[in-house]
């Protein structure tokens, strides 16, 4: 078991490194360097060649790509993401508060999503093929078909325009206190929760059906244990494995969703920072946010992997 853990950890580190290579390549090598991305055609029309070359030297972009990559990557490992082009502000300073705010919103989303997903998944899986199951499954499909930004905008229309209970645009700053942010995070969280519950409950339903049909559940049943104990003590732990196996996808989905809802509601998080950085073509900020998100996905996936190893004796006994 120990060696499986070590293997997973090494693999995660390798993927983290590959993600760093990709993030760097996509913005600083293939399309030309960061300055080529930053300067628009208008800028190029008014600037002298010498001026551009001087800027390039100032930002250290005249060095070979692999030297720049190493420079950037060794900085990233200690939390230094470089500086912005405009005003040369350290990027770690810009993204610190938004990162915390986004993690807070993500935590709110996750704590609401999973209890509901578990409940719905078990109920529909247990009564598979019944009228209720078909209705809930179809509703789930509708749930994750509606775009996040449409749900968000509709919530604004209902709760801010028709019934003025909430402000249409969040008035909170990136360094607002967690309490203030928690109060305004309800509508943004609700926006993405619907889709996540729909998706996660379907995964659990699939896992639950598979477990309930397995031989070990049949044996437990035959031993005369009450049905509720069969479900919650024996079947449920085995049923969450498909959910855990796709936990990386869930986290990636939450992060993608955050970009959208933060834009819809004006929530001061990483997603809003990202969109602003893209429009200002601040390559290094986009890099930093993308790489941080990838790190989060990789770490969460590693934790989910460990959980699977603890829950699933078949994986644990695998000698690989």
């Amino acid at each position: 078991m120990f060696w499986i853990l070590i293997r997973r950890l090494t693999l995660s580190l390798l993927i983290l490194f590959l993600a760093a290579v990709f993030v760097f390549m996509a913005t600083e090598v293939l399309p030309g360097d960061a300055l080529d991305v930053f300067l628009t055609a208008d800028d190029l029309a008014v600037m002298e060649v010498e001026e551009i070359e001087e800027m390039r030297r100032d930002f250290g972009l005249d060095r070979p790509a692999w030297v720049r990559f190493w420079d950037w990557f060794s900085g990233v490992l200690v939390g230094d993401f470089g500086k912005t082009f405009i005003h040369e502000v350290p990027i770690s300073e810009i993204i610190w508060h938004p990162l915390i705010n986004s993690l807070l919103l993500g935590a709110v989303i996750t704590t609401i999503t999973f209890p509901f997903a578990l409940l719905i998944g078990i109920l529909t899986g247990y009564r598979r093929g019944s009228q209720e199951d078909i209705i809930v499954s179809t509703t789930a499909i509708v749930g994750y078909s509606i775009p996040d930004f449409v749900i968000g905008t509709c919530l604004i229309i209902v709760f801010a325009v028709w019934m003025p209970l909430f402000p249409a645009v969040i008035i909170a700053f990136s360094d607002s206190s967690p309490g203030e942010l928690l109060a305004v995070s309800l509508l943004p969280a609700l926006t993405v929760i619907i889709g996540h519950i729909a998706h996660q409950s379907r995964l659990l339903r699939a896992g639950f059906i598979e477990t309930m049909n397995s031989e070990f559940v049949e044996r437990v049943r035959l031993s005369g244990i009450p049905e509720s104990r069969v479900i919650f003590r024996h079947a449920l732990p085995a049923s969450v494995i498909p959910m855990l196996n796709s936990f990386a996808m869930y986290i990636a989905g939450v992060l993608s969703g955050l970009v959208v809802v933060e834009k819809v509601f004006g929530y001061p998080g990483l997603g809003r920072e990202l969109i602003e950085a893209v429009s200002r073509r601040e390559v290094h900020v986009v890099q930093a946010i993308t790489f941080l998100s990838a790190t989060l996905v990789i770490v969460m996936n590693l934790l989910a992997d460990f959980a699977v190893i603890i829950l699933d004796p078949r994986v644990r006994s695998l000698k690989s």
Partner: protein, 281 residues
């Protein structure tokens, strides 16, 4: 394959029928939109923000005086086109890479899977935002970004399906017969992955339409003045207190299209005996 039976199952589920109907209506409307629209979509043809119900402009005009009905009908064309092209390329390459990796195995398979894992670690919208930042905002960059972004997920699903086929007798027989690698992949494996490839195409198609519209909403996708539902919603939000329908109508169009696609692909997956829930990324 038992296609008549598949057709029977498809037509027996009410959800699937609703889905197929929605998709057919959308396809017809999208194809014939240029013939139906009363005004040119990018031209200013009336007063700003006029109310719906007038004889000339049935649904009124938008915030700079363009005919709303025309823009609404044309609003799906660009995103559907982008999604179609991107997903066709993605699924084509994904099938070839996945099946060959599953069959050849070894270092090739390992390298492919590590690249897949790396991409899956980067959340979809951030991945596309990164590429759009690097290569600029254009339809081509968008197609490439979406294609690349959907490739790895499809590779993973198709590969795991191919791995269940490879141990079967007929692959072994072909190998003993002395068939070349190319022939085994093309004549034995690809035809037996058809079903999963079809379901993957349908699921990724609906998901990528969602992604394109979300990107347009965020200002990373299709650029104005092209009519697009995602863009129209983000433009409509400015007047949300007085002109709610400018947001609600494109919202209804995009939602009904994706709901239709997902209901139809779920029905297709069920009819083919595959589990759609695990294929969504």
């Amino acid at each position: 394959m038992k296609y008549p039976r598949v057709l029977q199952v498809l037509t027996h589920s009410p959800g699937t029928m609703v889905g197929v109907t929605l998709v057919v209506v959308h396809v017809i409307a999208t194809l014939f939109a240029p013939l139906l629209i009363p005004f040119e979509v990018t031209k200013i043809v009336g007063p700003v923000l006029s109310s719906p119900g007038s004889v000339e402009h049935w649904l009124g005009t938008d915030n700079i005086g363009r005919d709303y009905l025309s823009r609404l009908l044309m609003g799906g064309r660009t995103s559907i086109f982008v999604a179609m092209v991107a997903i066709t390329f993605a699924i084509m390459f994904a099938s070839l890479i996945a099946i060959s990796a599953a069959y050849v195995g070894g270092i090739y398979d390992d390298v492919v899977m590590r690249i897949v894992d790396t991409k899956l670690a980067i959340p979809g919208i951030l991945f596309i935002a990164l590429i759009v930042t690097g290569f600029g905002r254009s339809i081509l960059a968008l197609i490439v970004a979406i294609s690349l972004s959907y490739l790895p997920g499809a590779i993973r699903i198709i590969r795991s399906h191919a791995l269940t086929i490879i141990p079967l007798g007929f692959v072994e027989t072909a190998k003993l017969r002395g068939d070349s690698l190319y022939r085994i992949i093309w004549n034995e494996l690809v035809p037996n992955c058809q079903e999963i490839i079809a379901v993957e195409f349908a699921l990724r198609m609906s998901s990528s339409i969602l992604t394109v519209s979300a990107l347009s909403f965020l200002g990373l996708g299709i650029s104005p003045p092209t009519p697009d539902w995602g863009l129209m919603i983000s433009e409509g939000v400015k007047n949300i207190h007085t002109h709610t329908w400018l947001v609600l109508l494109p919202a209804a169009f995009i939602s009904s299209l994706v709901i239709g696609l997902n209901l139809a692909s779920d029905g297709l997956a069920n009819a083919l005996g595959l589990d759609a829930a695990r294929g969504i990324n």
